[in-house]
């Protein structure tokens, strides 16, 4: 998987919100490319447009203009259900607040995307337990989120993001709710996954966290102001 195929291509993407009479230009023409197997951090102060960019990259929203190719598919003009299908097959999400289903075991949480993919219960559980072992939770499969530590919950969320074998893993402040030691563990896991060939895009405002990535894209006022490899890259 560590080839030079383009995982993501953005061509002059803009996003404008109309709040009544006022037009808010959240993105004012963003172009960049992320190759398969890259580990990129997107940084920027609040209001810079990085959340909007993350939502677009995650196919939760459509650009106002410009083109977005995800894994070779132009997703900028797709309808809601087609975007849902893209999210299902090509993207994995990791959130700041974990977003696990309470009262549901780690295994069932990880298996959830495969439910919507239409896999049988057996196939779902098999894939889910593989991923849980991969993130080091092979012995916690039947635990509910409330019975797991914050770091373990985020590992479950990461396993869920990986279960459909996505082209890109999108992580939105993945260590925002964790203490520094646990954050290090999670960053270690991302590093490990990237070593294994996963394409990872992480949004953060924390320089320490961002320094784990191999490339940092800085956003300000809806534009990319800086795009540099890190010491890691």
């Amino acid at each position: 998987m560590n080839d030079s195929r383009q995982a993501i291509e953005l061509w002059n993407v803009t996003k404008t919100y109309e709040l009544g009479e006022v037009k808010v230009e959240a993105l004012r023409g963003v172009s960049f490319t992320i190759r398969s197997g890259e580990y990129v951090a997107i940084m920027g102060p609040s209001g810079s447009g990085k959340s909007t960019l993350m939502n677009l990259l995650g196919c939760l929203d459509r650009p106002t203009s410009g083109q977005y190719f995800l894994d070779g598919t132009d997703v900028s003009t797709l309808g809601d259900d087609q975007l849902a299908a893209i999210r299902l097959k090509k993207l994995g999400f990791v959130f700041q607040g974990f977003n696990l289903l309470a009262r549901t075991s780690a295994m069932k949480n990880v298996a959830l995307p495969l439910f919507y993919a239409g896999l049988s219960g057996k196939a779902r559980n098999a894939a889910a337990s593989d991923r849980l072992r991969e993130v080091g939770l092979g012995d916690r499969m039947d635990h509910k989120p409330s019975e797991l530590s914050g770091g373990q919950q985020q590992r479950v969320a990461i396993a869920r993001a990986l279960v459909n074998d996505p082209a890109v893993v999108l992580a939105d402040e993945p260590t925002g709710n964790l203490d520094s030691q646990t954050s290090e563990e999670i960053m270690g896991l991302f590093h490990h996954l990237n070593q294994g060939g996963r394409t990872i895009i992480m949004v953060t405002h924390d320089e320490d966290v961002a320094s784990h990535a191999k490339r940092i894209v800085r956003v300000r006022d809806g534009r990319i102001v800086d795009d540099q490899p890190t010491a890691q890259g």
Binding site: G58, L60, A84, A85, R87, L88, N99, P113, Y116
Partner: protein, 400 residues
């Protein structure tokens, strides 16, 4: 995307919120229980009534002059009229005075006032079973014998023990040989007995008791029971012909009773349907409310499900099936309670009174329960599910 998986998910959610689920379903349970138990009771009552009415002969009808008419005397039916009727009205085999007289009767040393009335042979008698002896025969009628059949009431009032057939009953200065005793009248929930205390051949009754009196009402015996209505019309026309156009009469037959009873049951059914509609509305609003709460509570969860690739239809289906499971639960429990309570009350009250056991209307109960569940889900489950399906995933994920 198998439908069974959605049901499994829905059951898990409903089981996790056990108290809330039961309280929400309670509205439906009560409504469906009420409607179905009344249905079961209604079926029991209808069965009992038609069973009782079935005991009355359908080969006779009764004619009586209206009380409120200009010339009641002219309208009065006389014995001579009845003798002409059997020759002149098609399908009428015979006509006899009906109704009874209260007379002093004696058996051995016991004296009682009893109703004495005219009766015809077995073909025209009620279906009340015999305890002893036999009913009136065609020979008894033709010969005008001094024989009588006692009702269960007369048997009890006269304090008779054992088989009295062959014994003698004194009425005034006349003696009648007892040829039979009827068993218990199964009047059930209707306080109507089709039997008088002492029944004697109508030929004997005419000769001994009716001569010279106006007849209160007359009973007509039919050849062909399927032509009751036509014969009633013919009889009324014939009476107007012999007594003048201004006379007014009423006729009663088994169908008249059945119609009255059917009318009562139609009324009950309508009221039950109204109760059903109200309880449906109340229970439905309860489910609508709880489903909206459920959607609001799980906004983030819905956002997550959408983010990981659930389509709008899949979300819609999930919440729709949750509402369906909730109402199906309520309706099935309500149906079982309804049948249980209905059958229990039916057994304790109606069957005991009437002796008629009506089958439980399973099919109708199942249809009612399914109908309730379907309507409630479609009307009140769709909107919350649609709300969930159309949530914006970005907003939903941000929801606190």
């Amino acid at each position: 995307m198998r439908i069974s998986q959605y049901f499994a998910e829905a059951f898990a959610v409903l089981a996790a919120n056990r108290i809330r689920t039961i309280l929400t379903a309670l509205g439906l349970i009560i409504g469906v229980t009420a409607v179905i138990s009344i249905q079961v009771l209604g079926a029991g009552m209808a069965g009992a009534v038609s069973g009782i009415l079935g005991a009355a002969s359908d080969r006779t009808f009764v004619v009586l002059p209206n009380q409120q008419q200009a010339d009641f005397t002219r309208a009065a039916i006389r014995l001579s009229d009845l003798q002409r009727a059997k020759d002149e009205i098609p399908n009428v085999i015979d006509a006899m005075p009906a109704g009874g007289q209260n007379l002093q009767a004696a058996y051995g040393h016991s004296h009682r006032r009893l109703t004495l009335g005219a009766g015809a042979d077995e073909r025209f008698a009620t279906a009340t079973p015999l305890r002893y002896g036999r009913k009136l025969s065609a020979d008894d009628i033709v010969a005008g014998r001094h024989v009588c059949v006692l009702s269960d009431r007369a048997y009890t009032k006269l304090a008779i023990s054992g088989d009295p057939t062959g014994g003698s009953l004194r009425v005034g200065d006349r003696r009648f040989t007892i040829i039979g005793v009827l068993g218990v009248d199964q009047t059930g929930i209707l306080p109507i007995s089709f039997n008088q205390d002492v029944t004697i051949p109508y030929t004997t009754y005419e000769r001994e008791f009716a001569r010279g009196r106006a007849i209160l009402f007359a009973r007509f015996l039919l050849q062909d029971p399927s032509r009751v209505e036509q014969t009633e019309a013919d009889t009324l026309a014939w009476l107007k012909h012999i007594k003048g156009a201004r006379v007014e009469y009423q006729t009663f037959d088994r169908k008249t009773f059945t119609k009255a009873v059917d009318g009562i049951f139609a009324g009950i059914t309508l009221i039950v349907a109204l109760i059903g509609a109200v309880s449906l509305l109340v229970a439905g609003i309860g489910i609508l409310n709880i489903m909206l709460v459920s959607v609001a509570e799980r906004t983030r969860e819905i956002g997550l499900r959408k983010a990981i690739g659930a389509t709008r239809f899949q979300i819609l289906l999930q919440f729709f099936i949750e509402a369906l499971s909730l109402s199906a639960f309520g309706c099935i429990v309500g149906m079982l309670f309804g049948i249980l309570i209905g059958a229990l009350v039916n057994d304790l009250a109606i069957v005991k009174l009437s002796g008629v056991v009506a089958p439980i209307p399973w099919l109708r109960s199942i249809l009612i329960a399914t109908g309730f569940a379907t309507v409630v889900t479609l009307v009140f489950g769709t909107y919350p599910a649609w709300r969930a399906a159309t949530l914006d995933p970005i907003e939903a994920l941000r929801y606190e």
